[in-house]
Assembly symmetry: C2
Homo-oligomer: 303 residues x 2
């Protein structure tokens, strides 16, 4: 079975191919640059890595289709970051340790770069339909559902504009949906069981959201490459505000354990469980920061 | 063969079904409302009508796939209108005779409604992949290409942010690409000749763009349901500014004639040619307005 390094290399290669196709001679050059800027260098690429790891665990008999699903998910994630950072939402100055797209390229190109990345994601998946049409049709609907209305990340972002959002619904749509799509689409691409794998993604997505809430409260902006304290500024629901740092950390630990336990028996079971544990350590804020903010409370032992 | 009224009814019905799926209980209600507001009541629905008319002329043996292509194109068109109207572009107050989406629902929901409509367009097409996978794969790539980078409407909009745009490239991407996709995808959905039909759409798209340039100069904002004089305000390329009203009108007339002449021999040839002539009359500014602006110049006899 492919190592995580090999899977990660596949993702970068396919992302470069997709962005290169968008930036042909004759295209508006600054929009092409803005798209590349938003996608490279990436963050942890958690979602596409997860997608390909699940596909590998299910036999990976249609690797090009699995790759298309993985980069489709990552391109959609990058698009959502660009749009969420816009002045009408967070007006975030920094993302992944550098100026956000609208700060670097202006707001018009930021709106368009997000739009173009959404289209590119579906175009990349449409290219692989003939590899295995039934699987492609299923995974495209899964991924579209995880991004659009009624329950995808766009819906999650919209809950911030609604007066009576329920925390669990909001987080499930805003963060959980794309994690669930990553594991489910990875399974579908390789002919695996979509429902069993979806549960793994749902639990991981929930864990990631709680970790994000914790980081927003106790994280260090410079280390994380993005601003903190945003939820409080915008009066958004946050698990730490609701349950305290200790409660939120305990909840996160349980969610990671649940995610590990939900990995179905398969060739790559132990690799995947190890990957989840590794990622969950990355979720956690650096120990020094937590110590400084809350002496005596150990928020870093997550699993 | 279906009448234009029957085709128009199919489009409205399928658009309603798609928007209704997006607005299920549990979805953020205001985003659902913003999406419906952007799509209903529609404009002339020129692009989806054209798509279905071409599919009908090619035999329409996969009507659900043709419908998915048609409403995909219309949803993408509506999304582009929402985003193009945003404050960072035109900051348009009025569209289709009512406040623009960001004026009615606020900028955050306008950004998200555009995003959600893009995703919905591809989700609608993905639903029909198994009807005829090879055709679906081809038409999804055609439609994605007509919207995204390097040569789709997003690229066209981006040319407005570039310092050295070429008028023909800009207009081909901004307006022509979705017309060309409408005829090409209509043909592909029904197993017709994609290249012959693409030419019809390209010519119509060019005609529509010239008509739009003329309307921006001499049109009446109240009659058209959107502001005029926008190109001059933003120093954008405009055919009337380049060739004068008479030159632009002559050019438009020729383009419509070329479009009519390019309709390939088929069962619906005369219906389609008549439809193009009817639409081209709708392109033209009302005679009274043109008379008032430029006495003695008849810009309304377009074909």
């Amino acid at each position: 079975m492919a190592t995580s390094e090999q899977l990660a290399a596949r993702i970068e290669q396919k992302l470069h191919q997709a962005i290169d196709r968008s930036c042909k001679p004759g295209a508006p050059p600054n929009l092409g640059k803005a798209m590349g800027y938003a996608v490279f260098p990436g963050g942890a690429r958690i979602r596409p890595n997860l997608c390909l790891a699940v596909a590998a665990s299910c036999g990976d008999d249609q690797p090009d289709l699995a790759d298309a699903a993985a980069i489709g998910i990552e391109l959609l994630h990058c698009a959502s970051l660009i749009h969420d950072d816009l002045p009408c939402f967070d007006d975030a100055p920094i993302r992944r340790g550098k100026p956000t797209v609208h700060r670097a390229f202006g707001e018009p190109l930021a709106v368009l770069a997000g739009d173009a990345l959404i289209v590119l994601a579906f175009e990349a998946m449409a290219r692989q339909i003939m590899d295995a049409p039934a699987r492609a049709a299923q995974l495209m609907r899964i991924i579209a559902g995880s991004v659009g209305m009624p329950f995808g990340i766009v819906a999650g972002q919209a809950w911030e504009s609604e007066s009576d959002a329920i925390l669990a619904d909001y987080q499930r749509a805003k963060t959980g949906s794309l994690f669930a799509a990553a594991t489910e689409a990875g399974a579908v691409a390789a002919g695996g069981d979509s429902q069993l794998w979806r549960i793994v993604g749902e639990r991981l997505g929930e864990a990631y959201q709680v970790a994000d809430d914790i980081q927003d409260v106790v994280g260090d902006a410079a280390l994380m490459g993005k601003p903190t304290g945003v939820d409080a500024t915008y009066a958004r629901p946050n698990m730490v505000a609701q349950q305290g740092l200790e409660g939120a950390t305990r909840h996160l630990k349980q969610l990671v354990t649940d995610a590990v336990d939900s990995v179905p028996p398969c060739a790559g079971q132990s690799m995947l469980q190890q990957m989840i544990l590794n990622e969950s350590r990355r979720f956690a804020p650096p120990p020094s920061v937590v110590q400084a903010q809350k002496a005596g409370h150990d928020a870093t032992s997550l699993a």
